[in-house]
Each structure stands twice: as structure tokens, then as C-alpha cells.
């Protein structure tokens, strides 16, 4: 997984914004996942463009974080969500 990958929330995943947090539920597997405010913002940005790099650039401006830490955190979160089928990598 790299910043140049694109991902999307598959149709079988329901999302609800609850306060600052977002809850995602994979309707096929029953697996659910809670995201804090930072994770929620990431998913919100992914819903707009799907490009991890685009989300990364916006979040670098919005949060007090170093580029290295943000990249590591976003890629780790993306991989975890892909493993739970809450995100899928766009192939084209």
C-alpha cells in the first residue's frame, strides 16, 4: 500500500457519522469499526476522491503532524480497513 493507491468504501459497507466519530459496518461480514475524529476525516476525504494522497495532502494542512507520521498512520489505517473489507483498493 502506498499513498498513490486509491481506495473506496464498498457498497456493502454502511457508514454513520456519530458526533466526531464514524462507525462503519460491513453488511456481508457483520464486522464493524469505529473511527475517531482523525480517522473520520480521512474516510470523509476518501469518499470525495478515493485517492489516499489527496486525503494526505489535506490532512497535512489540517492537523499538527509530521508528514512521516501522517503517512505511516494513514497507510496503516487503510491496510487495517482493507483487511476488514471496509475499504477496497481501486484496481484501475
Amino acid at each position: 500500500m502506498t499513498l498513490h493507491d486509491s481506495v473506496r468504501i464498498p457498497d456493502e459497507v454502511a457508514t454513520r457519522k456519530v458526533g466526531d466519530e464514524t462507525i462503519l459496518l460491513n453488511l456481508n461480514t457483520g464486522i464493524y469499526f469505529g473511527l475517531d475524529a482523525v480517522g473520520s476525516r480521512f474516510v470523509e476525504l476518501l469518499e470525495t476522491s478515493g485517492e489516499i494522497a489527496a486525503a494526505y495532502r489535506v490532512m497535512l494542512q489540517e492537523f499538527d503532524v509530521t508528514p512521516e507520521v501522517l503517512e505511516t498512520d494513514l497507510l496503516r489505517l487503510t491496510e487495517e480497513m482493507c483487511a476488514k473489507r471496509l475499504l477496497v483498493v481501486e484496481t484501475n
Binding site: A14, I23, L27, L35
Partner: protein
């Protein structure tokens, strides 16, 4: 087995070919679900596609906490029905529309055990398809409205509810709670009389020599159903608070659960007959979201000591009183 009995449970009119003395006879004619206990020699359901299984269950756990190794409950589906198989006891075939339940004993089990499996295991799963939300929760009625104690098995839901009922707060339900939207908010629908408690709990909190009944052949739990001792309400009550029973603590503390965490808690505590039905899961997810927004949800930590129950009750009642206006302004 020719006579047909008619009962009410959580607003469901259930007819049965065996007596279900745990329930209150229904006066209405509009049967919602028919139960039939079959003979042992009736063949098992064919072509079942098994999709889920539970390995432990509260009533299958001994009082000292030892758990069973074998699957407790297998859930499957055949052409027009769901199949719930309790491998050591019985198989329940539930019509997809949940209008009928047929039970075939898998062993020489007592009718009492069939009744318990029906009323305390199968019915809440059926209700999960018929009602808006069914939670692993007990509930009582206070002067401020209904309060629910939700939590996983063994967290003390029944003990806490029984403790309140002994002090005159009517029981709404024990172990599972049906929620339905009403004009003023989410309504808790009364279940059937009584609670199920460990013998040590009965001994610790109930009057001496209280008559109790067996629950099922595989558990030492006791059924306490004396409505003079444990009053109950027959009417739906507005749910004012939901307390999630969490880890034991040396003292009682109550804290607001953040909205996201509340939602996850309710998803975890919701009954669901068919975990493969994505349409239903989406609907349930939305319902949980609504309940989370409209019902204040708190986590409560408390000592699991019988001597602490009066203080725990007092803390909850005080909490209800102190935050009444805050919640009203939500």
C-alpha cells in the same frame, strides 16, 4: 397434545400445543406466532446451510464460570425456514416469516428445558426480525421512566434488575429487551414475569425459603417469578436511560459513553437471527444509530458484591435525578 394454549410475550401472541406456565395467557385472538413441540422421531430439517454458531451461552456456564466446549447453538437456513439447533437438546425450525416455530427434541429432554430454550433463546431471536431492536438487557421502571441494564452474559443484568424490583421498582424485562419507537421516544416493551438467577444470588438477595423453580436441566439457575415479590409492569415504558454494565470496579462509577462507542455497544448487544441478511443489518444499523441519538447511554462500573447492591441502586437513582434536566434538554 390437542389443546392449544395462547399467551402473550413482548406483545407477541404465541399459541402453543404445550402449556407454557411461565407466560401470561393472552386474551387477544390475533396469533402472531404458533409453536409446536414435535415428537422425537420426526426427521430433522433437510438441506440446512449452516451460517453461524455460538460456542457459549450464559445458561450453559456453571456458576463458577466454567464454560462448555461444544457449540451451544448452530444457526442455519433451509428453503423456507431458519434452523436453530442446540446440539445437545433440541432443534427449532422457524418459518422465514417467523409466524411458526416447530421444535424437535434431539435427546430425551424435559419439557421445561424446551420451554426455556423457546422463551429465552428462540423468542428473542424471532423478535429481532419482528421488532425494531432487541437488546441483551434487563429493565425496570423508576419514577423517571424505564432504565435498562445492558451487557454481555454474566455482567449482572438480572441481579441488578431483581435488586431494583425487590425495592418495588416494577420489572420490565429480564435478559432481553424489545425497543420500539413511540411518540415521546423509545419504548421498552414488557416481557414476561420473573427473573433467572444463580442460586447464590437467590440466597443472597431474596427472602429465605422463597419458592423458586428450575430453569432447565442443564443449568442450576433458578426462576423467580413471584410478582408480589418482584412487581412487573404490563405497559410499555419510555426508556429514559440505558446503562451498559462494564468491568467490575471497587466502587460505583457512571460515565457517559461517547456516541460512537455507544453505537458499537448496541450493535454488539443486539439480537440478530440472520447475520447474513445485509438488508436487515443495514436497517438494524440505522435503528441503533437512532437509539444512540435519542437514549442517553452510560457505562456503569460497580463492585460485584451483593452487599454493594443498595449503594449501586442509590447511585443509579441519584444519577437519574441529578441529570434529569440535562437529558430533557437534549
Amino acid at each position: 397434545m390437542n389443546s392449544i394454549h395462547r399467551y402473550g410475550i413482548c406483545d407477541l401472541v404465541l399459541t402453543s400445543n404445550i402449556a407454557l406456565p411461565e407466560l401470561i395467557p393472552a386474551t387477544e385472538d390475533n396469533t402472531g406466532c404458533r409453536f409446536e413441540l414435535l415428537a422425537r422421531d420426526v426427521p430433522s430439517a433437510d438441506g440446512v446451510e449452516w451460517f453461524h454458531q455460538w460456542t457459549t451461552e450464559e445458561d450453559g456456564i456453571t456458576e463458577d464460570g466454567a464454560r462448555r466446549d461444544e457449540p451451544w447453538l448452530q444457526l442455519g437456513r433451509c428453503s423456507d425456514a431458519y434452523v436453530l439447533r442446540f446440539p445437545s437438546y433440541a432443534e427449532f425450525v422457524i418459518a422465514t416469516d417467523t409466524n411458526s416455530i416447530r421444535c424437535r427434541p434431539l435427546a430425551d429432554i424435559e419439557e421445561m428445558t424446551v420451554r426455556h430454550l423457546l422463551l429465552d433463546q428462540v423468542v428473542p431471536l424471532i423478535l429481532s426480525r419482528r421488532e425494531h431492536l432487541v437488546l441483551h438487557s434487563s429493565a425496570v421502571l423508576t419514577q423517571h421512566g424505564g432504565i435498562a441494564f445492558a451487557g454481555k452474559s454474566g455482567r449482572g443484568k438480572s441481579t441488578l434488575a431483581a435488586s431494583f424490583a425487590l425495592e418495588g421498582f416494577p420489572l420490565v424485562s429480564d435478559d432481553y429487551l424489545v425497543l420500539r419507537p413511540g411518540r415521546e421516544g423509545w419504548m421498552a416493551i414488557p416481557c414476561y414475569p420473573g427473573v433467572r438467577l444463580w442460586p447464590s444470588t437467590v440466597q443472597a438477595i431474596m427472602p429465605q425459603d422463597l419458592p423458586t423453580r428450575d430453569v432447565a436441566s442443564y443449568t442450576v439457575k433458578r426462576r423467580v417469578a413471584d410478582t408480589k415479590l418482584l412487581p412487573r409492569t404490563n405497559e410499555p415504558v419510555l426508556l429514559r436511560r440505558l446503562y451498559v454494565l462494564t468491568e467490575e470496579a471497587g466502587w460505583t462509577s457512571i460515565e457517559k459513553v461517547p456516541p460512537g462507542r455507544s453505537m458499537i455497544s448496541l450493535v454488539e448487544l443486539a439480537y440478530n437471527l440472520d447475520t447474513t441478511d445485509s438488508t436487515f443489518l443495514r436497517q438494524q444499523f440505522e435503528t441503533v444509530n437512532q437509539v444512540t441519538r435519542e437514549v442517553p447511554i452510560y457505562a456503569i462500573h460497580f463492585p460485584r458484591e451483593y452487599s454493594a447492591l443498595p449503594a449501586v441502586r442509590e447511585a443509579i437513582l441519584q444519577h437519574l435525578e441529578e441529570d434529569k434536566d440535562i437529558d430533557a434538554a437534549r
